[in-house]
């Protein structure tokens, strides 16, 4: 069976510090991978998606970037965090038509 992992689970970072969130998927190969952000009390906003190693597409211009160094690894990064980057970050992978989500990372920028 397939599983998706995210870490860290929670993170508190000062404004201006760098960020690296990691997502890995097990039990599948060459999945489509997605990064979403969820602000408090709101729906999910797609940030990035990847259809393969080294292939990243951005949905919205922002302070964040993504990379896919390995088939089942997806990384979300920032060089300098802003207060507005706080939120719940979710990674997802696609099986057939459905997307399945990881447990999420709660990021608080102070």
């Amino acid at each position: 069976s397939q599983t998706i992992h995210q870490w860290p689970a929670t993170l508190v970072q000062p404004v201006g510090s760098p960020l690296s969130l990691e997502c890995t998927v097990e039990g599948t190969s060459n999945p489509n991978l997605y990064w979403y952000r969820q602000a408090a009390g709101r729906g999910l906003q797609l940030l990035f998606y990847s259809v393969g190693i080294g292939q990243i597409s951005s949905e919205v211009p922002q302070n964040l970037s993504a990379s896919r160094p390995q088939d089942r690894q997806f990384i979300l990064s920032s060089k300098k965090l802003l207060l507005s980057d706080s939120g719940f970050y979710l990674c997802a992978w696609r099986k057939a038509d459905t997307q399945y989500f990881g447990p999420g990372t709660r990021l608080t920028v102070l």
């Binding site: 709101r42 729906g43 696609r94």
Partner: protein, 114 residues
């Protein structure tokens, strides 16, 4: 784009009642729809899906209804239990995208009272 507003629709029911959660969508090109359940502090969990060539699909205690004429989707939960308390999201897929882009509704908070 991102939903606007911090006040999600809410639905409060008694344990054992049936629940109906509604969702309106706007894209006529959407060909696939999903309902997710999100418990506090967790990632969304897949509940049930339906394709645009269907108008009803049933799962275990859940039924999804699709009305393409008015672009409306609903999730019915039978014999609602306290463990069903969560935020429920609908999502639609634009059939014209190759990467399976999903657009999410803002969610509905379901509270089940024992």
């Amino acid at each position: 784009g991102e939903s606007v507003g911090l006040h999600l629709p809410t639905l409060s029911v008694q344990e054992g009642d049936n629940s109906i959660i509604n969702c309106a969508y706007s894209n006529s090109a959407s060909d696939y729809f999903i309902w997710y359940k999100q418990e506090s502090g967790k990632g969304p969990q897949f509940i049930i899906d339906i394709r645009s060539n269907m108008d009803k699909r049933q799962g275990q205690r859940v039924t999804v209804l699709l009305n393409k004429t008015v672009k409306h989707l609903s999730l019915q939960i039978a014999a609602t239990q306290p463990g069903d308390s969560a935020v429920y999201f609908c999502a639609e897929r634009d059939g014209g995208t190759s990467y399976g882009k999903l657009t999410f509704g803002q969610g509905t908070i379901l509270t089940v009272h024992p």
